[in-house]
Amino acid sequence: MQEVKKIQKNLHPPMVEGDHSFASVTDIISDRTLKKRTPYGWFIGFALAFMVAQSLLFTVVYLVITGIGIWGNNQPVGWAFDIINFVWWIGIGHAGTLISAILLLMNQKWRTSINRFAEAMTLFAVACAGLFPLLHTGRPWLAYWLFPYPNTMGMWPQFRSPLMWDVFAVSTYATVSLLFWYVGLIPDIATLRDRAKNKYFKTVYGLLSMGWRGSAKHWHRYEIAYLLLAGISTPLVLSVHSIVSFDFSVAQLPGWHATIFPPYFVAGAIFAGFAMVLILCIPLRHWYGMEDFITKTHLIFMGKVMLATGLIVVYGYAMEGFFGWYSANEFEVFMIYNRVWGGPYWWFYWLLILCNGLSIQLLWFKRFRESEFWLFFISIIVSIGMWLERFVIIVTSLHRDFLPSSWAMYSPTVFDWSMFIGTIGFFFTLLFLFVRFLPVISIFEVRTLLPDAQVNHGHHGAHGELNDRPNAFNESINDAQGAEEK
């Protein structure tokens, strides 16, 4: 029987380690917010992130006052850092939605302890992403002109333009992500409300929890709402980045005009997103003592997802080259020549292959997938690689277009950099605030993973030992939540 248990443990590794009860899970996660002293590291990290975010504030103010001429883009590279960073941030957000929606519908239990902060990451990444196209419009205070609304100017958006589709795709995505995150938070905010001693915390959590009392009716409605939102989010995981890829593939420019773009972009987005989830969750579990909830198993699974999506992206690179050759179109052939070895930006391409193609090959080996350090390191490399991918696609395609008379080089200005680095600071500022004031891990969902949550139907006998395995994966969430009702 010992052997059977061992096999069981390998097949269905426990999602919560250590000896936990409902109460201990709630204590550990909510005390982080309510009782424990805020660690000094938090203050240092927050201060650093907040300082870096000031460069965003400065750049945006200066940009609104003077105009986007402070950036380096001009003909023929009319899109540069702004769209690169937009796609980069939007891509990072996708992992959060994938984890929360698709993995929920597929009944993947390992999503439970990482979905909360992955969704927060999505929201903050979308907030950073939205800034770039908004400011790129030139007169951001008139950005509402992008929406079709009745006006006396006789203006109507051009619905044939993929940039217009972007407006709808991204604003829908931001709204649904916010709703999904907030609806999932309500039961936990209510827990915090009940446990808070501080008057202000009580009031704020009380308002945010929207009168949640945890009655069976509440849970019933919550489950339906959550499932519906998951259903709405699921197509968004695929559609948003497909539409972002249309920004390029609908154009005729060699290097953009490829049918592989939508799946290639979606895979790249999930790839980059999982890299960012790993970058965030490794320090979190380490310094916040969440090793019991974000286990090695989670890290290994995320490593596997990264490897799989990374290989799809590498396939995309191969196909771009193949299309260039197979099309026998001289412009396409030139684009590949210019991108890979003949052009001035050739080394970006090889850095990209190094970061996205070669580095992830380490994840084939169990040793690297299980190592916190290596996963963190590879994730950082992949994040850089995904940024380089967008640079290669956008800048190296644009700077050698159809008219050799307009060929030019692109170089970013100091404001391009300060804005990009500033959004990273802004992103981490929001994350630090999130980690401080909200439960980073979904308390009530983690409780459903505990052995206590498994409803025992009284099948004893030969199967008795099998039933007490910590993760009875076929129990439905509903049953489990019924059991934890207080």
Partner: protein, 151 residues
């Protein structure tokens, strides 16, 4: 060439510059695309005059600014929907070509190819290209360079 007003390039404050500006034209400000309007103010004037007389705008009634200063009369502006207008006739000329037409860009401004002197005695004479020599050339050059547009 400026395609977009990335910054505020206009000096609105110096009073002397006000005299310099065409009062009929609104100068595009910062954050706005920069593009030829085919002298929309002149089109508006002609349209109003024609409406007053209850007639259509006559061919050649609208003269764009660039057209009026061109010493070689190389620029023609008119109604493309009217098959008898001068611009429509020139568009039917086999010398007519558009920039990046092979990409289906469908620009309104098109060009007429350069005329070559056919007199062999002249110093600028270039032997006309045969189909054979054309093929040779496209093999030599890697890119199909479009012929220089002639203004």
């Amino acid at each position: 060439m400026r395609r977009f007003n990335f910054l505020l390039y206009q000096d609105w404050d110096t009073p002397q510059y006000k005299l310099m500006r065409n009062p009929e034209v609104s100068v595009r400000s910062r954050g706005v695309m920069e593009k030829c309007t085919y002298c929309t103010q002149r089109i508006a004037i002609a349209r109003i005059e024609a409406e007053k007389d209850q007639r259509n705008i006559k061919d050649g009634e609208i003269v764009t600014a660039c057209q009026s200063v061109c010493p070689a009369d190389a620029i023609v502006f008119g109604d493309l929907n009217d098959p008898n207008s001068q611009v429509s006739k020139l568009k039917k000329d086999h010398r007519n070509y558009a920039l990046l037409n092979e990409l289906n860009t469908q620009p309104r401004t098109t060009y007429l190819a350069n005329l070559k002197n056919q007199n062999r005695e002249m110093p600028d004479y270039v032997a006309p290209k045969t189909i054979e020599s054309n093929r040779e050339e496209s093999k030599d050059s890697n890119q199909g360079e479009p012929s220089e547009p002639k203004h």
